[in-house]
Symmetry: C2
Subunit: 497 residues, 2 copies
Amino acid sequence: MFEDAELGHTLSKEDFDKQLPALRERLLQAQTKLLEAKRFPVLLLINGVDGAGKGETVNALHEWLDPRHVQSMAFGATSDEERERPALWRFWRELPPKGKVGIFFGNWYTAPIVRRVLGESRKVELEQSISTIEHFERMLTDEGVLLLKFWFHLSKKSQKKRLEALSRSKRTRWRVTPQDWENASRYDDFRAVSERVLRETSTGSAPWIVVDGSDERYRSMAVARTLLDALERRLAAPPGEHERSQAKPAPVSIRDDKGLNVLRALDMTRKLEKKKYEEKLDALQARLNQLSRNPAFSQRSLICVFEGPDAAGKGGAIRRVTRSLDARQYRVIPVAAPTEEERAQPYLWRFWRHVPRNGRAAIFDRSWYGRVLVERVEGFCRDEDWRRAYAEINDFEEQLAQSGAVLCKFWLHVSEDEQLKRFEDRKNTGFKQYKITDEDWRNREKWPLYEQATCDMIDQCSTEIAPWTVIPANDKHFARVAVLETIVSRLAASIEK
Amino acid sequence: MFEDAELGHTLSKEDFDKQLPALRERLLQAQTKLLEAKRFPVLLLINGVDGAGKGETVNALHEWLDPRHVQSMAFGATSDEERERPALWRFWRELPPKGKVGIFFGNWYTAPIVRRVLGESRKVELEQSISTIEHFERMLTDEGVLLLKFWFHLSKKSQKKRLEALSRSKRTRWRVTPQDWENASRYDDFRAVSERVLRETSTGSAPWIVVDGSDERYRSMAVARTLLDALERRLAAPPGEHERSQAKPAPVSIRDDKGLNVLRALDMTRKLEKKKYEEKLDALQARLNQLSRNPAFSQRSLICVFEGPDAAGKGGAIRRVTRSLDARQYRVIPVAAPTEEERAQPYLWRFWRHVPRNGRAAIFDRSWYGRVLVERVEGFCRDEDWRRAYAEINDFEEQLAQSGAVLCKFWLHVSEDEQLKRFEDRKNTGFKQYKITDEDWRNREKWPLYEQATCDMIDQCSTEIAPWTVIPANDKHFARVAVLETIVSRLAASIEK
């Protein structure tokens, strides 16, 4: 992969000066269009060997573009807020919104490569990282991000020459750190590991662009031209026509002859007498409280997701959970229409921003499953968007679980009759009227569609690390106790093991 | 202040049960109106003595309100990201948006009171904290926040009884920490310091509401009724008619006979020959780079603000600064129209979110001064809003400076003639065309108004900790060197002292 980049490409000052004005003009025009259309964000990953001029090239880009709409970000040591969340969280929080250009140094490739070269990780861990990255980048490009991955390369000899040259001049000496020399001494290892990573992560929608870093004019021009070309092509394509996921549609379950499915198989008559309920509730709440104060929980977090038909009793169940927790620990996140800033980002961004730190709980009243439920049924997103969401959600939840989060996902189910009864009841109870809207009545008409979407969702996203707990909730007592029992048992299994 | 709250108010179960349904109905109605109108946010501060039922009362509120639009937040130990920023940053980042209810435990009152009681701070520091709080809260209420400050009180005897009762029951024992007993042993000190703080921070627009915490039903009802009353009254008032700042208008300078002002007094003929410029630029950039790599800078941050008429050369000056910095260190923040999430917050929120960590630089291309410049001149905000902004900005900058930020604020000034020349030039240079819009031409017509606004701004906000540097910028060389000289000298004074 690096052969061409070791040929020592150069660009004469004359040619450079001749090409530059037209290039700048076109870059600015493309950037202005990008900003006006706000159709997609542009994300440049800047990686490669030390001394290959990454910083200088980015500075040149900052100069040639309108710098007000370019944000470069370097990810150094993690903060404590970052360490207590999935590894990708720090990148999610800095993603450029639609219309803007983001440039990431020290991105998600850095740690996996460096750790492997230094022998801090095993081969299988590198493989896992690569797989996580592949999924993440596929999601980004599927969401419309124009992702350009630049690898700045230098041959072993050129790198040595370059670092020496930088060290000689007083003005540039600071750029060469002891770490750079240390890394240079491992050039061959770095090259081997990088080559493998690049090969495995070079995909159709986000290929690596390897740049010969030995000549300043050449490499800046190469990067700028690549950016310009990608940007112009993408802007010229009709909206929605961009390089979409080539992924096959996710398999979606088919209704069987008998109309049997996971919801219909529920025993909706399950109930719990009031006295029994109160006893159990008391004991479970005390137990959950105790678990939440277990010192081991400070290395874990709890994420609960509540989904279900309208009036299934999500709010009531959530309150039974939160009552057992210290108010300092939890947050309920009601999921409504996304804000403008959220709409300018990939779909999952608005959930990533609420991922809790260790020792905390986040309780989602509706969730990222909206994509495969309401958005699918109501046609709020395109077919391919909800179809790919199953895999994206599984990736997301896997990352949450890996970072120590205990995930409990509840589908509280009510029958159509019971829902109707509750709607009528709400209409007649003053302080519950706010809970019922015209939309709720409209949604009822689409019951079979929602049922199908729900079954598909459970089918696709009930995984070992994040299983769905489907609860018959015609009886609120039964449902609340079932919710608490699940949380208690999952939490206990996780922190008392 | 605490006398009434020590009388042992109670509410019988009968009365409580009788009042509750109507209260809940009205609370929900008010909350729905709040959410629909999105005119202002509601912020409840929950403070008081341990064992006075703060958590239980908030739980009750969560139950009586629509919990999806209430966010309770407890501020415990600071994270490293928080420690490297002004003390108020952590509260800014959690402020509820318009239409929502936020409940803050462990808020900005906690540390000043606790530290004073434990003897970790001196009296004068407490006074400073109180003053900071007063200004902060005045800003919040001026911005429309409905701020309700609850102090949960218990007499010494009641507190002891309450803590003992909690400790006796297995289910509530966890609530009483050793710290609570420790605090209880200092009851008198806590009472004295709190009394003083409450007295000094009880203002017309945000008075303290002291609640007798000895009876669960009484205190929950008292808090809920207070909230309801405040909410209903505020919703009934015509928009904009809420309790606005009683502050007198900020003094604004008057033009003198000779039309003399700080801008006209500038020597606009200042210039620097190209050769001299290049020499100086080189030396200054090397020096700035050296300073940015000084280990002492890791305890500081750099915040630069660039303001000036259109085409004054802000972008070019910024690039001369950023070129001396490592791309990993800085971020340019272009200030454009606020987003939806930003519009739902107090004015300064969108700048607080960009406050850099230590060791980093934030460069604002236009800034919070927009309020007293473009918003004032174009009438984008009301008269009282920009008039109070001077004091709010000074508070903001004081907090930045206190947290270790080095602030450099530049007004790059060009004459009307020079601006016209540059506009024409831009029109004729392909890759600069994007820089000039109809708005730029319109703004030119309001030159005298902008001049007045600028002079007032410098008058009001050029402070010792954050002085304005006004630079004649008809000659770009001169201006860029002056910018770098200022940053270098301020940074050196701060980190080499």
